[in-house]
């Protein structure tokens, strides 16, 4: 069979006309920014010389479209580009790809926000619990939560279980595995989840509280379903997943699983490179707010301002916005700032974040004195008082 030699012709596309919007940030002159924006429209879709595309339908509907170019201040531009919902074909991975796949390889552009139409949000179950669901699960309605972690790496499972028992006994709301706890020989996953899960549930029987244990189930993919089912069988309170390590779509798969029916906390490991350079990558709002939420996380962990990382108060507040902004049927989710906290800073933190927040307190809880029960109780008392006096 002789091959066709010419591929210049009309293509008729039957599309809905529905489009989603991606908001990008850039710097430069109006002309520079327009050229770059036009480049996004092509590079993120047809990835092909525009002048070689003879089909009017492909040029009009598949290539991205600049909807708005504004300069909110100084040299900073905000550019809104719309894409046909059909370019994404109902897949989260392909949404990320159209949003920033190839363009991630070009410096000087930051993806700021996603604006998805209802028809597209339908592809996402979203957070199964969200703020409201986790409050109902735990029976805690009027104050921030305190979550701590099982550390340091190297402790054996029996000690980790004792530690978790102490936390739950002392009134701490949530205990997560340190994200560094994978399946190491000194604290094998299967035994750890069983022992820690049982310890927390034993403490819950004594306290009457419902402290939630979140084991880290990040990878390997070949075992992840086995791991989460085991965790479920061990009576855990939820799961911790790092989407930077296993992909946002893996988190979505776990969140969507009706058989699991467990809240999910998102951990920021390996995602930092998207945010550390201002004006590049992806905004804090999107990568720690909107995206984990779209992928079904019920809470999103990130480094607190004033801590050992470099996030500003403004960065942290934008994450809260992305975690709670109106997104159709998607529940708002908890922010979970961690790092650099201590008892003295709690009132300031409550002022900054309000009550719908999960404070992650690790080292500071151990540091304040020799008796861990006393330390935990002091933090819990402080949280209750702050809200009353607020």
């Amino acid at each position: 069979m002789q091959p066709r030699r010419h591929f210049q012709f009309e293509v008729k596309l039957d599309l809905s006309g529905e489009r989603f919007r991606v908001i990008y940030g850039m710097q430069g002159s109006g002309e520079e920014v327009r050229v770059r924006a036009e480049d996004i429209c092509v590079e993120q879709t047809i990835e092909f010389p525009r002048d070689l595309v003879t089909s009017g339908d492909i040029r009009a509907a598949i290539v991205g479209k600049i909807e708005r170019m504004e300069r909110p201040g100084g040299n900073e531009w905000e550019i809104e580009i719309s894409f046909a919902v059909e370019t994404v074909g109902h897949e989260l991975t392909q949404l990320l790809n159209v949003m920033f796949g190839n363009f991630s390889l070009k410096p000087g552009v930051q993806v700021k926000r996603l604006d998805l139409p209802v028809s597209m949000l339908k592809d996402y179950k979203g957070p199964r619990f969200g703020i409201q669901g986790i409050r109902e699960m735990t029976g805690v309605h009027d104050r921030p939560f305190l979550c701590t972690a099982l550390k340091p790496m190297g402790l054996p499972n029996d000690t980790l279980a004792e530690l978790a028992y102490t936390f739950a006994y002392s009134g701490v709301d949530m205990v997560k595995d340190d994200h560094g706890l994978a399946d190491q020989p000194f604290s094998p996953f299967w035994e750890r989840v069983e022992k820690v899960g049982a310890a927390v549930n034993r403490a819950n029987k004594i306290t009457g509280n419902r402290c939630l244990y979140f084991p880290n189930v990040t990878g390997p993919l070949s075992l992840i379903m086995e791991k989460v089912r085991w965790a479920k069988a061990c009576g855990v309170g939820g799961l911790m997943v790092a989407p930077g390590l296993v992909g946002f779509d893996t988190m979505k798969m776990l969140a969507d699983d009706d058989g699991l029916d467990l809240p999910i906390i998102s951990h920021p490991s390996f995602l930092g490179s998207y945010v550390v350079t201002p004006g590049n990558g992806i905004s804090h709002y999107l990568i720690f707010g909107q995206l984990p939420r779209l992928a079904g996380a019920d809470a999103t962990i990130y480094p607190n301002y004033g801590g050992r990382f470099s996030f500003s108060l403004e960065n942290c507040q934008s994450i809260v916005q992305g975690a709670t902004v109106e997104m159709g049927h998607l529940h708002p989710i908890f922010s979970a700032p961690g790092g650099g906290m201590n008892l003295e800073r709690i009132p300031e933190m409550v002022q900054a974040y309000g009550k719908d927040v999960i404070f992650l307190i690790g080292g500071a809880l151990h540091k304040m004195g020799p008796d861990l029960v006393v330390n935990c109780q002091a933090y819990m008392d402080c949280l209750r008082e702050c809200v009353i006096s607020r």
Copy 2:
């Protein structure tokens, strides 16, 4: 049961003593760099105040250890930190986590290279084919390969199949789906792979060549195994996966599957933020060279120097090094630079990359003239001649 209140005690760890090394780059004074390096040792492992760790074994064996600090030039430092192999527990996700999980959230550090002992490399099957395997599969031993892509997005499956037939008929070595081809209504995945796979195989019967078709099987995770088995059943030549979108571990899972037994091409989508800011993130060598290879890719796509992206010749050469450097039993893999190529640049490219390279040529192949068969043959002739005259 009363809780334990004090957790300061000795822990005995029974470790192998084997360690792997991560090489980081930083800038600053010797003192600044040492402080930051000490921080990596703690943050990437125990993530806990070092002075609260009473266990000598944890301090000595779990906390990272600075092995070397050197200043190869100017203000630039190279720091080698070793970690116990046990901290990783045989998991690729956890290797990424120890290497750069939390520290990705701090600016001013770049991961340059991984140096894994043989005991750890045993956890990785690595590339199933590599350079040698793909040469044997295709019967092409003496020259670079030419790979092109099915574009633009928006073409129907029958046209994509015709296009693929033309490429294969004209002697092109490999045809990949554009990474933008997911499962869109205008070119549904299942039908596309069947039609394109059949078209390429039909052309192969005429030419006697073994042109390989690589469909893009990136996401969604819930369907990925079904997708790759379908692709296998359709007689495809390999698979294209974007680890930035689905995670390196997903790529590893596909590469490790003996039932699939197909070469894998890694696509750089969504990974750019790790490399666009010099001195931050992850080196080109590692993220496009060593890591895809560790995860089992047989070829690694990246933007070519002098093209529409910002990679330098030096960046590209370092990817080739990461793709081919001695790594135990892991086969060296193909580099696959794309973008900004045309017929005139091929001799220069062959000089720069040698013969073990896959040139990705997309738009340029359509641009050079109206007859696609003639264009493809011109490129193939040029590739053969360049190697002869070299």
